[in-house]
Protein backbone atom coordinates (compact mmCIF):
# COMPACT_ATOMS: atom_id res chain seq x y z
CA UNK A 1 0.00 0.00 0.00
CA UNK A 2 1.44 3.40 -0.88
CA UNK A 3 2.18 5.54 2.19
CA UNK A 4 -0.10 8.36 1.05
CA UNK A 5 -3.10 6.09 0.88
CA UNK A 6 -2.22 4.70 4.31
CA UNK A 7 -1.98 8.20 5.77
CA UNK A 8 -5.32 9.13 4.22
CA UNK A 9 -6.95 6.01 5.65
CA UNK A 10 -5.59 6.78 9.11
CA UNK A 11 -6.72 10.40 8.96
CA UNK A 12 -10.25 9.48 7.88
CA UNK A 13 -10.49 6.79 10.57
CA UNK A 14 -9.21 9.13 13.27
CA UNK A 15 -11.63 11.87 12.22
CA UNK A 16 -14.60 9.50 12.17
CA UNK A 17 -13.57 7.91 15.48
CA UNK A 18 -13.15 11.33 17.09
CA UNK A 19 -16.56 12.55 15.95
CA UNK A 20 -18.30 9.38 17.10
CA UNK A 21 -16.53 9.45 20.46
CA UNK A 22 -17.43 13.11 21.01
CA UNK A 23 -21.06 12.48 20.11
CA UNK A 24 -21.14 9.52 22.47
CA UNK A 25 -19.66 11.63 25.25
CA UNK A 26 -22.18 14.42 24.70
CA UNK A 27 -25.19 12.13 24.63
CA UNK A 28 -23.85 10.01 27.46
CA UNK A 29 -24.15 13.06 29.71
CA UNK A 30 -27.77 13.55 28.60
CA UNK A 31 -28.65 9.87 28.96
CA UNK A 32 -27.04 9.81 32.38
CA UNK A 33 -29.14 12.75 33.57
CA UNK A 34 -32.33 11.34 32.10
CA UNK A 35 -31.71 7.89 33.55
CA UNK A 36 -30.83 9.27 36.97
CA UNK A 37 -34.00 11.31 36.85
CA UNK A 38 -36.01 8.25 35.85
CA UNK A 39 -34.58 6.21 38.72
CA UNK A 40 -35.20 9.04 41.19
CA UNK A 41 -38.76 9.57 39.87
CA UNK A 42 -38.35 13.04 38.41
CA UNK A 43 -38.22 14.37 34.84
CA UNK A 44 -34.66 15.47 34.19
CA UNK A 45 -33.74 17.83 31.34
CA UNK A 46 -36.57 17.61 28.80
CA UNK A 47 -37.07 21.20 27.57
CA UNK A 48 -34.41 21.68 24.87
CA UNK A 49 -35.69 19.94 21.76
CA UNK A 50 -37.77 16.75 21.72
CA UNK A 51 -37.09 14.69 24.91
CA UNK A 52 -34.28 17.17 25.69
CA UNK A 53 -32.21 15.83 22.78
CA UNK A 54 -30.54 19.19 22.14
CA UNK A 55 -29.50 19.59 25.77
CA UNK A 56 -25.81 18.65 25.13
CA UNK A 57 -25.58 21.42 22.51
CA UNK A 58 -27.03 23.91 24.95
CA UNK A 59 -24.60 22.71 27.63
CA UNK A 60 -21.68 23.07 25.24
CA UNK A 61 -22.68 26.63 24.33
CA UNK A 62 -23.04 27.46 28.00
CA UNK A 63 -19.54 26.19 28.73
CA UNK A 64 -18.08 28.31 25.96
CA UNK A 65 -19.72 31.52 27.17
CA UNK A 66 -18.81 31.11 30.85
CA UNK A 67 -16.06 33.26 32.28
CA UNK A 68 -12.70 31.52 32.35
CA UNK A 69 -11.24 32.09 35.83
CA UNK A 70 -7.67 31.46 36.91
CA UNK A 71 -7.19 31.75 40.68
CA UNK A 72 -4.71 34.43 41.76
CA UNK A 73 -2.40 32.08 43.65
CA UNK A 74 -2.60 29.26 41.17
CA UNK A 75 0.42 27.89 39.37
CA UNK A 76 -0.60 29.35 36.00
CA UNK A 77 1.37 27.07 33.68
CA UNK A 78 0.39 23.82 35.37
CA UNK A 79 -3.17 25.08 35.86
CA UNK A 80 -3.61 25.49 32.11
CA UNK A 81 -1.74 22.28 31.25
CA UNK A 82 -3.74 20.01 33.54
CA UNK A 83 -7.03 19.76 31.58
CA UNK A 84 -5.16 19.06 28.35
CA UNK A 85 -3.03 16.40 30.04
CA UNK A 86 -6.14 14.68 31.27
CA UNK A 87 -8.09 14.92 28.00
CA UNK A 88 -5.46 13.84 25.47
CA UNK A 89 -4.70 10.34 26.85
CA UNK A 90 -8.42 9.74 27.26
CA UNK A 91 -8.94 10.35 23.55
CA UNK A 92 -5.76 8.57 22.42
CA UNK A 93 -6.74 5.22 23.89
CA UNK A 94 -9.50 4.75 21.36
CA UNK A 95 -7.04 4.36 18.47
CA UNK A 96 -6.31 0.79 19.56
CA UNK A 97 -9.81 -0.55 20.13
CA UNK A 98 -11.30 -2.60 17.29
CA UNK A 99 -14.97 -1.74 16.79
CA UNK A 100 -15.53 -4.26 14.00
CA UNK A 101 -13.99 -6.78 11.63
CA UNK A 102 -13.14 -6.06 8.01
CA UNK A 103 -15.83 -4.41 5.92
CA UNK A 104 -16.02 -3.43 2.27
CA UNK A 105 -16.95 0.10 1.31
CA UNK A 106 -18.80 0.76 -1.99
CA UNK A 107 -16.07 2.73 -3.80
CA UNK A 108 -12.95 0.95 -2.52
CA UNK A 109 -11.50 -2.22 -3.99
CA UNK A 110 -10.03 -3.54 -0.75
CA UNK A 111 -11.48 -4.36 2.69
CA UNK A 112 -11.15 -1.78 5.43
CA UNK A 113 -10.43 -2.92 8.99
CA UNK A 114 -12.59 -1.17 11.57
CA UNK A 115 -9.80 -0.21 13.93
CA UNK A 116 -7.40 2.67 13.58
CA UNK A 117 -4.25 0.69 14.25
CA UNK A 118 -3.23 -2.62 15.74
CA UNK A 119 0.11 -3.07 17.44
CA UNK A 120 1.99 -5.91 19.02
CA UNK A 121 1.74 -4.46 22.54
CA UNK A 122 -1.93 -3.38 22.33
CA UNK A 123 -3.09 -3.80 25.92
CA UNK A 124 0.14 -2.47 27.39
CA UNK A 125 -0.24 0.67 25.28
CA UNK A 126 -3.82 1.13 26.49
CA UNK A 127 -2.67 0.72 30.10
CA UNK A 128 0.14 3.20 29.45
CA UNK A 129 -2.26 5.83 28.14
CA UNK A 130 -4.79 5.42 30.93
CA UNK A 131 -1.89 5.61 33.37
CA UNK A 132 -0.81 8.93 31.89
CA UNK A 133 -4.29 10.37 32.36
CA UNK A 134 -3.82 10.34 36.13
CA UNK A 135 -1.19 13.05 35.94
CA UNK A 136 -3.71 15.59 34.66
CA UNK A 137 -5.96 15.12 37.67
CA UNK A 138 -3.09 15.23 40.15
CA UNK A 139 -1.64 18.30 38.47
CA UNK A 140 -4.99 20.09 38.61
CA UNK A 141 -5.17 19.37 42.33
CA UNK A 142 -1.71 20.79 42.93
CA UNK A 143 -1.88 23.79 40.60
CA UNK A 144 -5.18 25.16 41.93
CA UNK A 145 -3.52 25.96 45.28
CA UNK A 146 -6.66 25.08 47.14
CA UNK A 147 -6.86 22.61 49.98
CA UNK A 148 -9.88 20.78 48.58
CA UNK A 149 -8.24 20.45 45.19
CA UNK A 150 -5.02 19.20 46.74
CA UNK A 151 -6.86 16.60 48.81
CA UNK A 152 -8.83 15.52 45.75
CA UNK A 153 -5.64 15.18 43.72
CA UNK A 154 -3.90 13.21 46.48
CA UNK A 155 -6.83 10.86 46.86
CA UNK A 156 -7.07 10.42 43.16
CA UNK A 157 -3.42 9.48 42.76
CA UNK A 158 -3.55 6.94 45.60
CA UNK A 159 -6.81 5.46 44.36
CA UNK A 160 -5.80 5.19 40.73
CA UNK A 161 -2.44 3.60 41.51
CA UNK A 162 -4.06 1.07 43.83
CA UNK A 163 -6.78 0.03 41.43
CA UNK A 164 -4.55 0.08 38.37
CA UNK A 165 -2.67 -2.80 39.96
CA UNK A 166 -5.79 -4.94 40.31
CA UNK A 167 -6.94 -3.98 36.83
CA UNK A 168 -3.64 -4.93 35.17
CA UNK A 169 -3.55 -8.23 37.05
CA UNK A 170 -7.11 -9.09 36.06
CA UNK A 171 -6.16 -8.66 32.40
CA UNK A 172 -3.34 -11.21 32.69
CA UNK A 173 -5.86 -14.07 32.73
CA UNK A 174 -7.20 -12.90 29.38
CA UNK A 175 -3.68 -12.64 28.00
CA UNK A 176 -2.84 -16.18 29.08
CA UNK A 177 -5.95 -17.46 27.36
CA UNK A 178 -5.74 -15.43 24.17
CA UNK A 179 -1.97 -15.79 23.85
CA UNK A 180 -1.60 -12.27 22.53
CA UNK A 181 -1.55 -8.66 23.65
CA UNK A 182 -3.00 -7.46 20.39
CA UNK A 183 -6.61 -6.40 20.87
CA UNK A 184 -7.66 -7.52 17.37
CA UNK A 185 -6.34 -11.03 17.99
CA UNK A 186 -7.98 -11.16 21.40
CA UNK A 187 -11.36 -10.38 19.86
CA UNK A 188 -10.88 -12.92 17.07
CA UNK A 189 -10.05 -15.66 19.57
CA UNK A 190 -13.38 -15.14 21.31
CA UNK A 191 -15.51 -15.99 18.27
CA UNK A 192 -17.59 -19.11 17.85
CA UNK A 193 -19.52 -21.29 20.31
CA UNK A 194 -22.62 -19.08 20.35
CA UNK A 195 -20.98 -16.52 22.59
CA UNK A 196 -19.65 -19.15 24.98
CA UNK A 197 -16.17 -18.37 23.70
CA UNK A 198 -16.36 -14.95 25.32
CA UNK A 199 -13.85 -14.65 28.11
CA UNK A 200 -16.51 -13.75 30.62
CA UNK A 201 -17.99 -17.27 30.25
CA UNK A 202 -14.99 -19.27 29.22
CA UNK A 203 -13.11 -19.30 32.50
CA UNK A 204 -12.52 -15.61 33.14
CA UNK A 205 -15.61 -14.68 35.20
CA UNK A 206 -13.43 -13.82 38.19
CA UNK A 207 -11.16 -11.67 36.05
CA UNK A 208 -14.22 -9.96 34.60
CA UNK A 209 -15.51 -9.10 38.07
CA UNK A 210 -12.18 -7.66 39.19
CA UNK A 211 -11.81 -5.72 35.95
CA UNK A 212 -15.34 -4.34 36.19
CA UNK A 213 -14.90 -3.06 39.74
CA UNK A 214 -11.44 -1.61 39.20
CA UNK A 215 -12.47 -0.02 35.91
CA UNK A 216 -15.21 1.89 37.72
CA UNK A 217 -12.66 2.98 40.31
CA UNK A 218 -10.17 3.94 37.59
CA UNK A 219 -12.66 6.27 35.95
CA UNK A 220 -13.49 7.97 39.28
CA UNK A 221 -17.16 7.09 39.09
CA UNK A 222 -19.63 6.37 41.87
CA UNK A 223 -19.37 4.52 44.21
CA UNK A 224 -15.63 5.19 43.96
CA UNK A 225 -15.82 8.93 43.16
CA UNK A 226 -13.75 9.91 46.20
CA UNK A 227 -11.57 12.45 44.32
CA UNK A 228 -14.61 14.66 43.73
CA UNK A 229 -16.73 13.74 46.72
CA UNK A 230 -18.92 16.85 46.84
CA UNK A 231 -20.07 16.39 50.41
CA UNK A 232 -16.55 16.75 51.81
CA UNK A 233 -14.30 18.17 49.07
CA UNK A 234 -16.64 20.65 47.27
CA UNK A 235 -15.73 19.28 43.83
CA UNK A 236 -12.30 17.78 44.47
CA UNK A 237 -9.59 18.40 41.94
CA UNK A 238 -11.70 20.59 39.64
CA UNK A 239 -13.08 22.91 42.31
CA UNK A 240 -11.32 25.96 40.83
CA UNK A 241 -11.93 25.18 37.19
CA UNK A 242 -14.59 26.88 35.13
CA UNK A 243 -15.68 27.28 31.52
CA UNK A 244 -13.92 25.20 28.84
CA UNK A 245 -11.25 23.97 31.24
CA UNK A 246 -13.93 22.34 33.35
CA UNK A 247 -15.56 21.06 30.17
CA UNK A 248 -12.28 19.40 29.23
CA UNK A 249 -12.18 17.51 32.54
CA UNK A 250 -15.79 16.59 32.03
CA UNK A 251 -15.18 15.29 28.50
CA UNK A 252 -12.09 13.43 29.70
CA UNK A 253 -14.09 11.68 32.43
CA UNK A 254 -16.83 10.61 30.05
CA UNK A 255 -14.38 9.63 27.31
CA UNK A 256 -12.61 7.50 29.91
CA UNK A 257 -15.93 5.88 30.76
CA UNK A 258 -16.55 5.04 27.11
CA UNK A 259 -13.00 3.75 26.74
CA UNK A 260 -13.24 1.59 29.85
CA UNK A 261 -16.56 0.18 28.64
CA UNK A 262 -15.03 -0.51 25.24
CA UNK A 263 -12.04 -2.22 26.89
CA UNK A 264 -14.30 -4.42 29.01
CA UNK A 265 -16.27 -5.31 25.87
CA UNK A 266 -13.14 -6.11 23.90
CA UNK A 267 -11.45 -8.14 26.60
CA UNK A 268 -14.35 -10.03 28.14
CA UNK A 269 -17.53 -9.75 26.05
CA UNK A 270 -16.10 -10.75 22.69
CA UNK A 271 -15.77 -7.27 21.22
CA UNK A 272 -17.68 -7.01 17.96
CA UNK A 273 -18.43 -10.76 17.82
CA UNK A 274 -22.06 -11.81 17.63
CA UNK A 275 -24.51 -13.94 15.64
CA UNK A 276 -24.33 -13.39 11.88
CA UNK A 277 -21.29 -11.15 12.03
CA UNK A 278 -19.28 -13.29 9.60
CA UNK A 279 -21.95 -12.90 6.89
CA UNK A 280 -22.76 -9.24 7.48
CA UNK A 281 -19.61 -7.52 8.78
CA UNK A 282 -21.47 -4.27 9.37
CA UNK A 283 -23.28 -5.97 12.28
CA UNK A 284 -19.94 -5.87 14.15
CA UNK A 285 -20.03 -2.18 15.15
CA UNK A 286 -23.70 -2.55 16.09
CA UNK A 287 -22.99 -5.41 18.50
CA UNK A 288 -20.00 -3.49 19.82
CA UNK A 289 -22.11 -0.40 20.50
CA UNK A 290 -24.79 -2.47 22.21
CA UNK A 291 -22.27 -4.08 24.53
CA UNK A 292 -20.64 -0.74 25.31
CA UNK A 293 -24.09 0.71 26.01
CA UNK A 294 -24.68 -2.08 28.51
CA UNK A 295 -21.61 -1.06 30.51
CA UNK A 296 -22.51 2.62 30.28
CA UNK A 297 -25.97 1.81 31.63
CA UNK A 298 -24.30 -0.08 34.46
CA UNK A 299 -22.26 3.03 35.30
CA UNK A 300 -25.36 5.18 35.61
CA UNK A 301 -27.28 2.51 37.46
CA UNK A 302 -24.48 2.19 40.03
CA UNK A 303 -24.31 5.95 40.45
CA UNK A 304 -28.02 6.13 41.11
CA UNK A 305 -28.20 3.25 43.54
CA UNK A 306 -25.02 2.99 45.59
CA UNK A 307 -23.60 5.23 48.33
CA UNK A 308 -20.02 6.48 48.16
CA UNK A 309 -17.37 4.46 50.00
CA UNK A 310 -15.35 5.91 52.86
CA UNK A 311 -11.68 6.47 52.00
CA UNK A 312 -10.23 3.73 54.23
CA UNK A 313 -12.89 1.31 52.99
CA UNK A 314 -11.86 2.11 49.45
CA UNK A 315 -8.20 1.36 50.15
CA UNK A 316 -9.02 -1.78 52.12
CA UNK A 317 -11.27 -3.04 49.36
CA UNK A 318 -8.64 -2.41 46.69
CA UNK A 319 -5.63 -3.84 48.45
CA UNK A 320 -7.08 -6.54 50.67
CA UNK A 321 -9.87 -7.89 48.49
CA UNK A 322 -9.48 -7.07 44.80
CA UNK A 323 -5.71 -7.51 44.57
CA UNK A 324 -5.64 -11.01 46.17
CA UNK A 325 -8.64 -11.96 44.04
CA UNK A 326 -6.82 -10.85 40.90
CA UNK A 327 -3.74 -12.86 41.97
CA UNK A 328 -5.91 -15.93 42.54
CA UNK A 329 -7.32 -15.41 39.06
CA UNK A 330 -3.84 -15.30 37.56
CA UNK A 331 -2.89 -18.59 39.22
CA UNK A 332 -6.22 -20.21 38.26
CA UNK A 333 -5.92 -19.09 34.63
CA UNK A 334 -2.37 -20.37 34.37
CA UNK A 335 -3.39 -23.73 35.85
CA UNK A 336 -6.40 -24.07 33.56
CA UNK A 337 -4.31 -23.05 30.56
CA UNK A 338 -2.19 -26.15 31.16
CA UNK A 339 -5.22 -28.42 30.75
CA UNK A 340 -7.18 -26.79 27.94
CA UNK B 1 18.47 4.62 9.02
CA UNK B 2 19.68 5.95 12.34
CA UNK B 3 23.18 4.66 13.17
CA UNK B 4 24.00 3.07 16.50
CA UNK B 5 26.43 5.82 17.46
CA UNK B 6 23.63 8.42 17.53
CA UNK B 7 21.78 6.49 20.18
CA UNK B 8 24.96 6.03 22.19
CA UNK B 9 25.85 9.71 22.01
CA UNK B 10 22.34 10.62 23.18
CA UNK B 11 22.73 8.12 26.00
CA UNK B 12 26.09 9.62 27.01
CA UNK B 13 24.69 13.15 27.00
CA UNK B 14 21.67 12.09 29.06
CA UNK B 15 23.92 10.32 31.57
CA UNK B 16 26.07 13.43 31.93
CA UNK B 17 23.00 15.61 32.49
CA UNK B 18 21.79 13.22 35.17
CA UNK B 19 25.20 13.21 36.83
CA UNK B 20 25.27 17.02 36.90
CA UNK B 21 21.84 16.98 38.49
CA UNK B 22 22.95 14.63 41.23
CA UNK B 23 25.89 16.94 42.00
CA UNK B 24 24.06 20.24 41.72
CA UNK B 25 20.60 19.71 43.20
CA UNK B 26 20.26 20.10 46.93
CA UNK B 27 16.66 18.95 47.18
CA UNK B 28 16.70 15.21 47.82
CA UNK B 29 13.67 14.58 45.61
CA UNK B 30 15.32 16.34 42.70
CA UNK B 31 18.44 14.27 43.30
CA UNK B 32 16.38 11.10 43.04
CA UNK B 33 14.82 12.39 39.81
CA UNK B 34 18.27 12.92 38.33
CA UNK B 35 19.21 9.41 39.42
CA UNK B 36 16.29 8.11 37.36
CA UNK B 37 17.67 10.08 34.43
CA UNK B 38 21.03 8.30 34.73
CA UNK B 39 19.34 4.89 34.92
CA UNK B 40 17.40 5.72 31.77
CA UNK B 41 20.53 6.76 29.95
CA UNK B 42 21.97 3.33 30.73
CA UNK B 43 18.73 1.72 29.56
CA UNK B 44 18.92 3.51 26.24
CA UNK B 45 22.43 2.20 25.66
CA UNK B 46 21.33 -1.33 26.62
CA UNK B 47 18.41 -1.33 24.21
CA UNK B 48 20.45 0.20 21.40
CA UNK B 49 23.17 -2.44 21.77
CA UNK B 50 20.59 -5.20 22.02
CA UNK B 51 18.86 -4.13 18.83
CA UNK B 52 21.98 -3.49 16.79
CA UNK B 53 23.69 -6.73 17.85
CA UNK B 54 20.55 -8.76 17.21
CA UNK B 55 20.54 -10.21 20.75
CA UNK B 56 17.79 -10.03 23.36
CA UNK B 57 19.83 -9.83 26.57
CA UNK B 58 20.07 -6.04 26.60
CA UNK B 59 16.31 -5.69 26.58
CA UNK B 60 15.91 -8.25 29.36
CA UNK B 61 18.43 -6.30 31.39
CA UNK B 62 16.37 -3.16 30.88
CA UNK B 63 13.35 -4.92 32.39
CA UNK B 64 15.44 -5.83 35.43
CA UNK B 65 16.71 -2.24 35.64
CA UNK B 66 13.12 -1.02 35.61
CA UNK B 67 12.26 -3.32 38.51
CA UNK B 68 15.31 -2.09 40.40
CA UNK B 69 14.37 1.53 39.64
CA UNK B 70 10.87 0.91 41.01
CA UNK B 71 12.30 -0.61 44.17
CA UNK B 72 14.79 2.24 44.48
CA UNK B 73 12.09 4.86 44.07
CA UNK B 74 9.88 3.17 46.64
CA UNK B 75 12.55 2.84 49.31
CA UNK B 76 14.12 6.20 48.44
CA UNK B 77 10.86 8.08 48.78
CA UNK B 78 10.07 6.27 52.03
CA UNK B 79 13.41 7.54 53.32
CA UNK B 80 12.52 11.03 52.07
CA UNK B 81 9.27 10.94 54.04
CA UNK B 82 11.04 9.70 57.16
CA UNK B 83 13.68 12.42 56.72
CA UNK B 84 11.09 15.14 56.31
CA UNK B 85 9.25 13.93 59.38
CA UNK B 86 12.41 14.09 61.49
CA UNK B 87 14.02 17.27 60.19
CA UNK B 88 11.33 19.31 58.42
CA UNK B 89 13.64 19.84 55.47
CA UNK B 90 14.53 18.12 52.23
CA UNK B 91 17.88 19.84 51.82
CA UNK B 92 20.64 17.26 51.64
CA UNK B 93 23.17 19.74 53.04
CA UNK B 94 21.06 20.22 56.15
CA UNK B 95 20.86 16.48 56.76
CA UNK B 96 24.54 15.69 56.92
CA UNK B 97 24.51 14.49 60.53
CA UNK B 98 23.61 10.96 61.49
CA UNK B 99 21.99 12.08 64.75
CA UNK B 100 19.82 15.06 65.45
Amino acid sequence: MPPFEQLLEWSVKIAVGFIILMTMVAYLSLIERRLLAFIQMRYGPNRVGPFGLFQPIADGLKFIFKEDLIPLDADKFLYVMAPALSLVPALMTFTLIPVGGEVTLPLLDRPIALHITSINVGILAVLAMTGMGVHGIVLAGYASNNKYSLLGGLRSSAQLVSYELAMSLSIIGVLIQAGSLDLVTIVERQGGGWGLGWHVFWFQPLGFFVFLVSMIAETNRAPFDLPEAESELVAGFHTEYSSMKFAMFFIAEYANMVTAAAMATTLFLGGWQGPGVTRWPWLGPVYFLLKVAFFLFLYVWLRASSPRLRYDQLMDFGWKFLLPLALVNVVLSATLALWF
Amino acid sequence: MVPLSWYLILSAALFAIGAVGVFVKNNIISTLLCLELMLNAANLAFVAFSIFQGTIEGQLFVILVMAVAAAEAGVGLAIVIALFRNRETLDVDESSLLKL
Partner: protein
Amino acid sequence: MTFQQLLFIGFAALVLGGGIAVVLLRNPLYGAFALITSFVGLSALYVMMGAQFIGAAQIVVYAGAIMMLFVFVIMLLNVRADEERPPRHRFLVWLAAPLALLLSAGLWLAVAGVQGDRAPSGEAGTVERVGKNLMTRYLLPFELTSVLILLAVVGALHLAKREKE
Protein backbone atom coordinates in the same frame (compact mmCIF):
# COMPACT_ATOMS: atom_id res chain seq x y z
CA MET C 1 18.74 13.15 6.03
CA THR C 2 16.00 10.54 6.03
CA PHE C 3 12.62 10.80 7.70
CA GLN C 4 13.74 8.41 10.46
CA GLN C 5 16.74 10.56 11.26
CA LEU C 6 14.53 13.63 11.48
CA LEU C 7 12.25 11.74 13.87
CA PHE C 8 15.27 10.72 15.92
CA ILE C 9 16.42 14.32 16.20
CA GLY C 10 12.97 15.43 17.29
CA PHE C 11 12.65 12.79 19.99
CA ALA C 12 16.27 13.24 21.11
CA ALA C 13 15.55 16.95 21.53
CA LEU C 14 12.55 16.03 23.69
CA VAL C 15 14.67 13.66 25.80
CA LEU C 16 17.55 16.08 26.26
CA GLY C 17 15.29 19.09 26.79
CA GLY C 18 13.38 17.20 29.47
CA GLY C 19 16.63 16.11 31.09
CA ILE C 20 18.08 19.63 31.14
CA ALA C 21 14.81 20.99 32.52
CA VAL C 22 14.97 18.47 35.38
CA VAL C 23 18.32 19.93 36.40
CA LEU C 24 17.46 23.60 35.83
CA LEU C 25 13.95 23.87 37.28
CA ARG C 26 13.80 24.62 41.00
CA ASN C 27 10.35 23.25 41.68
CA PRO C 28 10.54 19.44 42.06
CA LEU C 29 7.04 19.01 40.60
CA TYR C 30 8.08 20.80 37.43
CA GLY C 31 11.17 18.61 37.44
CA ALA C 32 9.01 15.50 37.72
CA PHE C 33 6.93 16.54 34.74
CA ALA C 34 10.02 17.44 32.71
CA LEU C 35 11.26 13.94 33.48
CA ILE C 36 7.97 12.47 32.26
CA THR C 37 8.43 14.37 28.98
CA SER C 38 11.90 12.91 28.72
CA PHE C 39 10.54 9.39 29.34
CA VAL C 40 7.92 9.80 26.65
CA GLY C 41 10.66 10.75 24.19
CA LEU C 42 12.73 7.73 25.26
CA SER C 43 9.75 5.46 24.79
CA ALA C 44 9.28 6.78 21.26
CA LEU C 45 12.95 6.08 20.56
CA TYR C 46 12.58 2.49 21.80
CA VAL C 47 9.59 1.96 19.54
CA MET C 48 11.58 3.45 16.63
CA MET C 49 14.32 0.90 17.25
CA GLY C 50 11.77 -1.91 17.26
CA ALA C 51 11.82 -2.61 21.00
CA GLN C 52 8.04 -2.27 21.33
CA PHE C 53 7.69 -4.05 24.64
CA ILE C 54 10.34 -1.91 26.32
CA GLY C 55 8.72 1.19 24.81
CA ALA C 56 5.36 0.37 26.34
CA ALA C 57 6.88 -0.75 29.64
CA GLN C 58 8.81 2.51 29.80
CA ILE C 59 5.55 4.46 29.88
CA VAL C 60 3.68 2.05 32.15
CA VAL C 61 6.47 1.61 34.71
CA TYR C 62 8.35 4.90 34.59
CA ALA C 63 5.93 7.57 33.43
CA GLY C 64 2.92 5.88 35.00
CA ALA C 65 3.97 4.18 38.23
CA ILE C 66 7.34 5.54 39.39
CA MET C 67 6.66 9.17 38.52
CA MET C 68 3.23 8.88 40.10
CA LEU C 69 5.00 7.89 43.30
CA PHE C 70 7.29 10.92 43.05
CA VAL C 71 4.41 13.28 42.34
CA PHE C 72 2.48 11.77 45.23
CA VAL C 73 5.33 12.35 47.67
CA ILE C 74 5.96 15.89 46.38
CA MET C 75 2.30 16.70 46.91
CA LEU C 76 2.18 14.94 50.28
CA LEU C 77 5.09 16.98 51.61
CA ASN C 78 3.75 20.04 49.74
CA VAL C 79 7.19 21.03 48.44
CA ARG C 80 6.89 24.33 46.58
CA ALA C 81 10.47 25.16 45.55
CA ASP C 82 14.03 24.34 46.47
CA GLU C 83 15.75 26.50 49.04
CA GLU C 84 18.85 28.37 47.96
CA ARG C 85 22.00 26.39 48.49
CA PRO C 86 24.04 27.69 51.40
CA PRO C 87 27.07 29.74 50.24
CA ARG C 88 29.67 27.27 51.44
CA HIS C 89 28.56 24.75 48.83
CA ARG C 90 27.88 27.10 45.93
CA PHE C 91 31.21 26.44 44.19
CA LEU C 92 29.97 22.89 43.50
CA VAL C 93 27.50 24.29 40.95
CA TRP C 94 30.31 25.86 38.94
CA LEU C 95 32.39 22.73 39.24
CA ALA C 96 29.58 20.54 37.96
CA ALA C 97 29.25 21.93 34.45
CA PRO C 98 32.89 21.40 33.34
CA LEU C 99 32.94 17.98 34.96
CA ALA C 100 29.77 17.07 33.09
CA LEU C 101 31.30 18.19 29.81
CA LEU C 102 34.38 16.13 30.61
CA LEU C 103 32.28 13.07 31.43
CA SER C 104 30.18 13.57 28.35
CA ALA C 105 33.25 13.91 26.14
CA GLY C 106 34.83 10.82 27.70
CA LEU C 107 31.73 8.71 27.13
CA TRP C 108 31.41 10.15 23.65
CA LEU C 109 34.97 9.12 22.76
CA ALA C 110 34.36 5.66 24.13
CA VAL C 111 31.22 5.02 22.10
CA ALA C 112 31.56 7.15 18.95
CA GLY C 113 33.45 4.51 17.02
CA VAL C 114 31.12 1.62 17.84
CA GLN C 115 29.42 0.00 14.89
CA GLY C 116 26.41 -2.29 15.04
CA ASP C 117 26.46 -5.25 12.71
CA ARG C 118 22.67 -5.71 12.43
CA ALA C 119 20.06 -3.40 11.03
CA PRO C 120 17.17 -2.89 13.45
CA SER C 121 14.00 -4.68 12.47
CA GLY C 122 10.44 -4.30 13.68
CA GLU C 123 10.51 -7.82 15.16
CA ALA C 124 13.49 -7.24 17.45
CA GLY C 125 11.61 -6.58 20.66
CA THR C 126 8.14 -8.06 20.36
CA VAL C 127 6.33 -9.32 23.43
CA GLU C 128 6.71 -12.93 22.29
CA ARG C 129 10.47 -12.72 21.93
CA VAL C 130 11.08 -10.87 25.19
CA GLY C 131 8.64 -13.07 27.09
CA LYS C 132 10.03 -16.36 25.85
CA ASN C 133 13.58 -15.46 26.80
CA LEU C 134 12.59 -13.99 30.14
CA MET C 135 10.56 -17.04 31.12
CA THR C 136 13.02 -19.72 30.04
CA ARG C 137 16.69 -18.90 29.92
CA TYR C 138 16.65 -15.89 32.23
CA LEU C 139 14.04 -17.09 34.70
CA LEU C 140 16.31 -16.95 37.73
CA PRO C 141 17.17 -13.22 37.49
CA PHE C 142 13.50 -12.54 36.84
CA GLU C 143 12.45 -14.42 39.97
CA LEU C 144 15.19 -12.69 41.97
CA THR C 145 13.77 -9.30 40.95
CA SER C 146 10.45 -10.30 42.43
CA VAL C 147 12.22 -11.00 45.73
CA LEU C 148 13.88 -7.60 45.46
CA ILE C 149 10.52 -5.90 44.91
CA LEU C 150 9.07 -7.73 47.90
CA LEU C 151 11.99 -6.54 50.01
CA ALA C 152 11.48 -3.01 48.75
CA VAL C 153 7.78 -3.11 49.66
CA VAL C 154 8.51 -4.30 53.18
CA GLY C 155 11.37 -1.82 53.57
CA ALA C 156 9.36 1.13 52.29
CA LEU C 157 6.46 0.27 54.57
CA HIS C 158 8.73 0.05 57.58
CA LEU C 159 10.54 3.30 56.79
CA ALA C 160 7.46 5.39 56.07
CA LYS C 161 5.39 4.01 58.92
CA ARG C 162 4.59 6.51 61.64
CA GLU C 163 6.07 5.28 64.91
CA LYS C 164 3.64 4.86 67.74
CA GLU C 165 4.41 6.88 70.84
